[in-house]
Subunit: 239 residues, 2 copies
DNA sequence: CATAACCAAGTTGCCTGACAAGATGGCAAC
DNA sequence: GTTGCCATCTTGTCAGGCAACTTGGTTATG
């Protein structure tokens, strides 16, 4: 709750005010549809200037929590209107939480793979095959193959034809990789033995998607992600 | 693209500038770690005042896309540092997209139910049982039972002990319910026959969680959500 | 010559004051 | 009683300025 992670960047006044207002709205202090106090009034009550209030309210507007009409005021949006899902970065402090995130990623990718098997077109299959070949080429060249790995998973979620799966998957994937990259000792390198195992698992997923075997695809994906998580675990600090 | 749905609220200058900068960062116009132009410079180049620039940059900071150091400047964050997943409200225009959203919700809840079966404590089971009884009471009283329904699902995701599942699930659930509530004809009312079916399906989920039957829990959840989606479909306009 | 202290310029964080545009409520005229 | 108008409030935007902080070069010192 208090310990600063990297840099204790002083929270700006707009930060704390936005958080305060967000909290007040979440706790029902301001009800949906209710008009919240004018900027001037908020400025005086919280002891800050109006631009700061504007900035704070601007963030709430950006997040879809309030809507404002010029000349009238700012109003609390209906409870389901929020348009962002925020992963609080401050939460990333221990192994427990990155594992929770990976768990979520696994859930998404498993379902995505299952859907991909049901819906893949011939073009999707071709794209998937190309990524598989690209990965093989990376192995033979001795490259890291990380980009090809990412591209393969991206091709899967694209085959779902569901934009939310695509967006959430890439978001979580980036987030997890970012965490791993910053947390692990830089000396550790991916081993080619690992890469060949990854390639085998990818091929299993590919075959299931090719055969439109939804259950098989889910199982292959779950197996792959489980093993990937184990491989990643060696890069993470012990709890 | 043009027809205003409710109110055609003119996008503020800070809105367009923030969107513009976000786009520039996403497209690699500014690379991670790079220092972006000073506020004064941005203000002159885009023809707006400095407070507007501050507000726009403030949003990017809030979303984790940039970090600023006083006296030094604002820098583009590393690509995986973004802390928000945004579901663009503008996308919700047709049935196709709400169905995609429901699909995502189903994926989350199915996995959550599976995890809940693996991890539920005795307390979780007791809480789940209470929600089941509350739902039964609502049926007998003739209430809508919506709140009890939500509470039951919430109890499931809480049993996962994974905060991301909890947050994402409640977020998506609210979002979907909000959409349904605004899209459906208000005359339509839930039928008690539906409620009893829901209660049966909930009981199946409960039993599987009680028995720590992960696979059974997933199947029960999938079946329940599939039927729930069908029941909801009658409230939605045809494509 | 190398190193350390120092200072000036640039940048962000924040404030005050002001004006324009749109909305709202009451007052006056009919 | 109804209608039209205007004073007032609120948001949107701008201008200018000061304090705190970082940075890089310059100068003084060992």
């Amino acid at each position: 709750m208090s310990a600063p992670s990297h840099l204790d960047r002083a929270p700006s006044l707009a930060d704390v005010l936005a958080q305060r207002l967000e909290q007040d709205i979440a706790q029902g202090h301001y009800m949906p549809g209710e008009k919240l106090p004018s900027e001037q009034q908020l400025a005086t009550t919280y002891g800050v200037s109006r631009p700061i209030v504007r900035e704070a309210i601007g963030r709430l507007k950006h997040d879809g929590l309030v809507t404002s009409r010029q000349g009238s005021g700012a109003f609390v949006a209906e409870s389901g209107a929020a348009s962002v899902f925020r992963l609080d970065v401050a939460n990333f402090k221990d192994r427990q939480e990155i594992e929770s995130l990976i768990e979520l990623l696994m859930a998404i990718e498993s379902s995505a793979t299952e859907l991909a098997a049901q819906r893949r077109t011939e073009q999707d299959l071709i794209a998937l095959g190309h990524q598989l070949e690209a990965m093989q080429g990376a192995i033979e060249r001795g490259d890291s193959g990380v980009d090809e790995d990412v591209a393969f998973h991206r091709a899967i979620v694209e085959a779902t034809k569901n934009p939310f799966f695509m967006d959430l998957s890439t978001f979580l994937d980036r987030r997890v990789r970012h965490f791993i990259r910053t947390a692990r000792a830089n000396t550790a390198k991916l081993q080619t033995g690992h890469m060949m195992a990854v390639q085998d698992e990818h091929r299993n997923i590919f075959n299931a998607i090719r055969d439109k075997d939804a259950q098989g695809a889910r199982h292959a994906a779950e197996s792959h992600l489980k093993k990937a998580a184990q491989r990643l675990a060696i890069y993470m600090k012990p709890v």
